[in-house]
Symmetry: C2
Subunit: 160 residues, 2 copies
């Protein structure tokens, strides 16, 4: 797929990611490493909590959403996160949920300090297979301009 | 260590986490799964980017910060994230950095919809071994009240 640059984006553009299957093993592995709480760690005990079953850490949902977003956008040279606001988890993510991310470009402006980058303001909405919203956020990120291409064209892009 | 409940917290309370060593292998593993971009994936190519070397995904820093925060707070029944604002990454995290999290309780109020929980507003600041700030955030979370103890006292807390 064609790589994107800052100049390729327009306010109002929308992008739809591929799908990601959340597994129970994935939920447990993330929780053991990063969010060791009972409702993320132990399916039996989680039944006795407010969630009435195992749920993914919100940070796991955020990480999965980043994966889907990065693979959708295809930005050569990378998307560099500056900050996130209004990160919310209105519904839990459970084993066997299938997540997708919708991205909307909210604003575009030049970067004064980094002339080879533009600043993109975007909204990401993560939904499950029942079209329920499991995460929303508003983010700002640096995206390379087309002029950046010359700088990185010799880079070995091992991350394909 | 003694478990904490909502009633144990006061506005202005501060907590300091243990330390977490960030490894190159950890940065690469997280990036491959969740943030496959060149400056998180490949030490050699990362030298040619704006970061001039390998850096951790911001979502990896957020996940490590959650781990440190959860283990500091010792909240029986768990801390349930409602939302995060003003998530920023003012400095990059690099291999061999040692991170700690400082938590400040900013506000406390009752939950109308869930009477056995209180809502905690808190600020988490993540620093490296040079006292540089690598992440800041403001978060809201549900924390069980002491009355919740009876409900969960029989739970096997396998996540210790």
């Amino acid at each position: 797929m064609k790589q994107r640059y800052f100049e390729d984006l327009k306010i109002g553009d929308r992008f739809q990611s591929n799908a990601y299957l959340v597994t129970q093993d994935g939920i447990l592995a993330f929780a053991r490493e990063f969010d060791p709480q009972v409702f993320h760690l132990d399916p039996a005990s989680a039944k006795e909590t407010m969630f009435e079953g195992l749920v993914a850490s919100g940070w796991h949902t955020a990480a999965i959403s980043m994966r889907l977003f990065v693979r959708t956008m295809h930005v050569l040279g990378g998307i560099i996160g500056l900050g996130v606001d209004e990160l919310r988890w209105p519904n839990p993510v459970r084993p066997d949920d299938v997540l997708t991310v919708e991205t909307e470009i909210v604003d575009l402006r030049a970067s004064r300090s980094k002339p080879s980058y533009g600043i993109v303001r975007l909204r990401n909405i993560t939904k499950n297979q029942r079209d329920e919203i499991v995460q929303t956020m508003l983010a700002s990120a640096l995206v390379p301009k087309h002029s950046y291409k010359d700088i990185v064209s010799q880079l070995p892009m091992k991350h394909k």
